[in-house]
């Protein structure tokens, strides 16, 4: 795929991609027909419920297994005393999406909410009560759950093997040359993904064959994980994940409770279903770790950034490592001659953090955009003008040119739609009735990774096609957008495409994460279609009976289910070509990945503008308008892309104003692990929102020019809201979420 790295690899798609089709799974989802893992009800189903640790550190000294087993309906209780063994050490990392497999290995408790038992019963009610009746007793140690309590340690990497620090340019020289030095400190809290669908699994064994329904964002990797810890061959596993009720990163990993369910189903010889309760989503299934970030911007007299430093302190668990790589968000957004970023780790008695929508970027962008606003204020400049002054024409961290960057167009489009012009420079200048009104903005940026994917595209004798890849649709619209791409790869109408996806017996579509799924799986599907078309062309052009005979590959175009000669108006349908060749099926195969070291910096970009109203006496905030414009390469389906962007922006509202998980510092237990205490935005929080896209051709990012839209909406938005709050109140938020009482 090296040829994809150079200009000219850009493929012109047919007419399916680019259309705002409604979701192909839409009717299923509005009628209750879409099946999620917890909806499975195989014959003989047992229900499992985990018991969660009520301390953050120590040992379980007693579990009243007898009381639980005596409860009518309870079948079996699994604890550390009778735990079923794993085939591998729980700490084994067979690939980057493996977290410690907590499956009752010992009586040790490392975080509140850790599964300490699994109760299996004939009914959900009995299993739930059985788990409660275990009434655990503990030998508890003092909990260390805050950034201040946690133990510092040194590490070279943050997450997925990324280095924990970066330095380019001469910081000391740049600082010495600077006219002013501005330090900004921002704190972000623990946040939890909270997909509406809790982690769930239904596991059933048929002899040595395992069948599981569980939502997963990386179906191929999940199968590998499960096989490895079971010590069986991956081919013995069928994992179905056709619909995820949200993932946001939390479902990229197979966690202990899911694995325990698989073990219990094998042990009991019956299907077992386990669904986490909402409170159990806090601890064992990842979160966005808190950060304390310090940024220093050193400016010259005109306001150019000469040096940019971004330090992050964050927590991970005592037994695994995933660091919120917030400082990395400063690598590539603004021009600077010198750049230094660092991450400092702490170990706390918490569940291991994990990737949560825009991991690193969301927290880091929030702090960076506040720092930029502080600098603009210090220079007496309009925040947008200040960002334009420091527009990065190349990636300052690598020196690479951008593969494409229509950020200026985004700024212009969003600013105009918002009506940014004429914004007073000073805060507290605008009112709506009694309410203070403020405007703020931020730059959105998100990288464009690609994973590895494979796909099949099979043309059938009737002119229809089956496309196959184990994509994961957690709401981003894979069922629709990928089918659109595949249809164009095959040169047929999307209505003729049957899409098989969301199961592990299909070619691996890679990870639905990093906003790279459409690009990765899409390119694989397109290549599979192109491979099928190539074979079709071979058949036709080598067949004297075909009107295409002798046209050769370059002389033929596939569209509308027909091959057309480029040199005249003759064409032939796929049906006819296959019929004459006596073929029922013609299968193409395709792969996609990004090989080698990129020669360009690849990012999606955007500008987000926020208006907030703030009650001057009570400090309550409402984001009255939120407008973003984004450049994200080729948009496969504008309707679904808009939804993704809006969703990300609303996550920005939640980050800025609502979301914060609190532990009691003494016990380490959560005090708000439910939706009444951990607030996420509701409909009334979003009175006016718009996301626009800016056309962008990217000939470098991949052959189809697809970037990603799933996460970028969170970036930029958090800072834009915080900056609007400053503009309304004159108070510069230093921590998230912004509490009303901090503004009065």
């Amino acid at each position: 795929m090296a040829d994809m790295m150079t200009a000219g690899g850009h493929v012109r798609l047919g007419s399916n991609a680019g259309q705002g089709l409604t979701r192909r799974d839409g009717v299923l989802k509005v009628t209750g027909g879409a099946g999620y893992a917890a909806d499975c009800r195989p014959e003989g189903l047992l229900h499992a419920v985990t018991a969660s640790a009520g301390i953050a550190r120590g040992r379980v000294t007693h579990l009243d297994v007898a009381a639980a087993e005596a409860h009518p309906g309870v079948v079996k209780v699994y604890t550390h005393a009778n735990a079923l063994p794993l085939a591998l050490s729980p700490d084994n990392k067979i690939h980057p999406f493996v977290w410690r497999m907590d499956a009752l290995q010992s009586d040790e408790v490392r975080y509140a909410g850790q599964p300490i038992a699994l109760v299996v019963a004939h009914s959900l009610e009995a299993a739930t009560e059985g788990a409660r009746l275990l009434a655990p007793q503990y030998d508890a140690q003092p909990a260390r759950v805050t950034l201040d309590d946690a133990e510092p340690y040194e590490t070279d990497t943050t997450a997925f093997g990324r280095p924990s620090g970066h330095s380019s340019g001469d910081i000391e020289a740049a600082r010495a040359a600077a006219d002013s030095h501005l330090t900004t400190t921002v704190e972000t809290p623990s946040q939890y993904h909270n997909p509406l669908e809790p982690h769930a699994i239904t596991a059933q064994w048929h002899g040595d064959q395992l069948e599981i329904d569980t939502p997963n964002q990386a179906i191929g990797l999940a199968k590998q994980t499960i096989a490895a810890f079971l010590g069986i061959d991956p081919s013995q596993i069928l994992l179905r994940s056709p619909f995820l009720g949200g993932g946001f990163g939390a479902k990229a990993i197979v966690f202990g409770a899911q694995f325990l369910t698989i073990l219990a189903a094998r042990d009991l010889g019956q299907p077992v279903k386990m669904v986490l309760r909402r409170d159990q989503m806090y601890g064992p299934v990842g979160h966005r770790a808190p950060t304390r970030q310090t940024l220093q911007l050193d400016l010259d007299a005109e306001g150019h950034i000469l040096a940019l430093e971004h330090d992050t302190i964050t927590t991970t668990s005592t037994f695994d490592q995933f660091l919120e790589s917030a400082s990395n968000a400063s690598h590539s957004v603004y021009a600077t001659s010198a750049l230094r970023t660092e991450h400092h780790a702490r170990r706390a008695d918490i569940g291991t953090p994990g990737p949560m929508r825009a991991p690193g970027e969301a927290s880091g962008s929030a702090a960076l955009e506040i720092a930029m606003d502080v600098a603009a204020e210090a220079r007496g400049m309009d925040p947008l003008a200040f960002r334009r002054l420091n527009y990065a024409k190349i990636d300052p961290s690598t020196g690479l040119a951008f593969s494409s960057k229509a950020l200026e167009e985004c700024y212009a489009k969003a600013a105009e739609a918002f009506g940014w012009e004429g914004r007073p420079l000073a805060p507290r200048q605008m009112r709506e009735g009694r309410l203070l009104k403020g405007w703020g903005m931020g730059t959105a940026q998100f990288p464009c990774p690609m994973f590895q994917a494979a796909a099949h595209a099979t043309l059938r004798a009737d002119g229809s096609a089956v496309i196959e890849t184990s994509a994961a649709d957690m709401g981003q619209g894979a069922w629709t957008a990928l089918a659109q791409i595949a249809a164009d790869g095959l040169g047929i109408d999307v209505d003729k495409v049957e899409f098989r996806s969301g199961r592990s017996d299909l070619p691996d579509a890679g990870v639905a994460g990093g906003s790279g799924h459409t690009a990765t799986a899409g390119n694989a599907l397109f290549n599979a279609g192109a491979d099928a078309v190539r074979q079709m062309v071979d058949l036709a052009t080598n067949d004297p009976a075909s009107p295409l005979f002798g046209a050769g590959n370059l002389g033929v175009t596939a569209r509308g289910g027909r091959l057309h000669r480029n040199d005249d108006d003759r064409s032939e349908s796929y049906e006819d070509i296959l019929a004459r060749a006596g073929l029922e099926l013609l299968r193409g195969e395709g792969k996609a990945s990004r090989e080698g070291t990129p020669e360009r910096a690849m990012f999606s970009h955007g500008g987000v503008f926020a208006e907030v109203l703030v009650d001057p006496d009570l400090g309550q905030i409402r984001v009255s308008r939120l407008i973003g414009a984004f450049a994200a390469g080729r948009i496969i389906n504008p309707r679904l892309a808009r939804s993704q962007l809006l969703g990300g922006m609303i996550w920005g509202i939640g980050f800025a104003l609502h979301e914060e998980a609190l532990h009691d510092a003494r016990t380490g237990r959560f005090v708000n692990n439910d939706f009444a205490g951990y607030h996420v935005p509701v409909n009334a929080d979003v009175p006016m929102i718009e996301a626009m896209t800016v056309h962008e051709d990217d000939p470098f990012v991949n052959a189809l020019g697809i970037k990603g839209v799933g996460e970028i909406g969170v970036t930029g938005t958090v800072g834009a809201i915080a900056n609007a709050v400053w503009h309304a109140t004159g108070i510069r938020p230093a921590r998230f979420p912004i509490h009303p009482e901090s503004l009065i």
């Binding site: 009520g54 009518p72 009610e125 739930t128 009560e129 409660r132 409170d279 009112r431 009735g433 009694r434 309410l435 109203l613 009650d615 006496d617 009570l618 400090g619 309550q620 409402r622 104003l657 609502h658 609190l662 009691d664 510092a665 003494r666 016990t667 237990r669 005090v671 708000n672 009444a676 205490g677 607030h679 935005p681 509701v682 409909n683 009334a684 929080d685 979420p737 509490h739 009303p740 009482e741 009065i744």
Partner: protein
Amino acid sequence: MNRFEYERAGTLAEAIGAEGAFLAGGTNLLDLMKIGVQAPARLVDISRLPLTEIEPVEGGLRIGAMVRNSTLARDPQVLAKYPALAEALLSGASAQLRNAASTGGNVMQATRCSYYQDPLSPCNRRNPGSGCGALGGETRNHAVLGWTEGCIATHPSDMCVALAAYDAVVEISGPEGARSVAMAEFHPLPDAQGAGDAPLAAGEIITHIRLPDPGAMARHARYVKLRERTSFAFAIVSAAAALAVEDGRITQARLALGGVAARPWRCRTAEAALLGQPATIETFTRAAELALEGASPSGANEAKIRLARKIAIRALERAAAGTPERLPALPASLFAGDDNG
């Protein structure tokens, strides 16, 4: 949830004196049972008791305990004469919960103190003598009035704040007969040990809420609620206010605060100070000072005292401005669009 016996009471007589926990709308009791805070051996389902009338009575209105919150909020008599009650109801919970929750159940709902809701934490309210887990913990939502070291929880109801302001009376029937208690005094404040007298004796049941006629205050009454989320959130602080103003002077005044104490906090000293005064921001500010007299933080919640003062002022201002013909789209919200400069 534990296994329990289930029985439905068909008549009030069957319910009175019944042993077990009364189940009405279930929105609070079932929740508490699910999280292991309550484990009644027996549930007495009172949801079908014929206590569903909202009837005018001499000197006011009488509301059956089984009237659903949503029914009460859209009742024309309530909207006309007790709009702050409707506004409070509509600012609470969600439409779904209001359709299920009963009037009596709303009065009886438990605190949302996260330590009360965590069976592993000490709590004098849940487990007398065990201590207060909240004290020294995460206390942003806790009391600033009427608390003791035994308990710093607040009462979460919006409805009860408005009822307290309206001088509502809780009608109770029990094995020993019927009795009435003022809404503002119904919920016990904690004593030094964190407990207080139980609002209801064993076998007692709330049958009705009686509201006296608000007279000239009917169209000068509002409920205002501060929360982080625009909707579907408990109050950080809230206030219900009702005023009658004649010739520029306040002739009647009611003020109650929510989210500050273990009961809806009726501010009688402040009310007295309002009487005879002009309906101005200065008057309201002085009253709000009095309303929070004696307030003290029970933890890291000092800001709540300032917020409570401000919300009292806002409620009084809105009440003075008059209740709008139709309740705003965002009931009780600071973004309801009716505060002019």
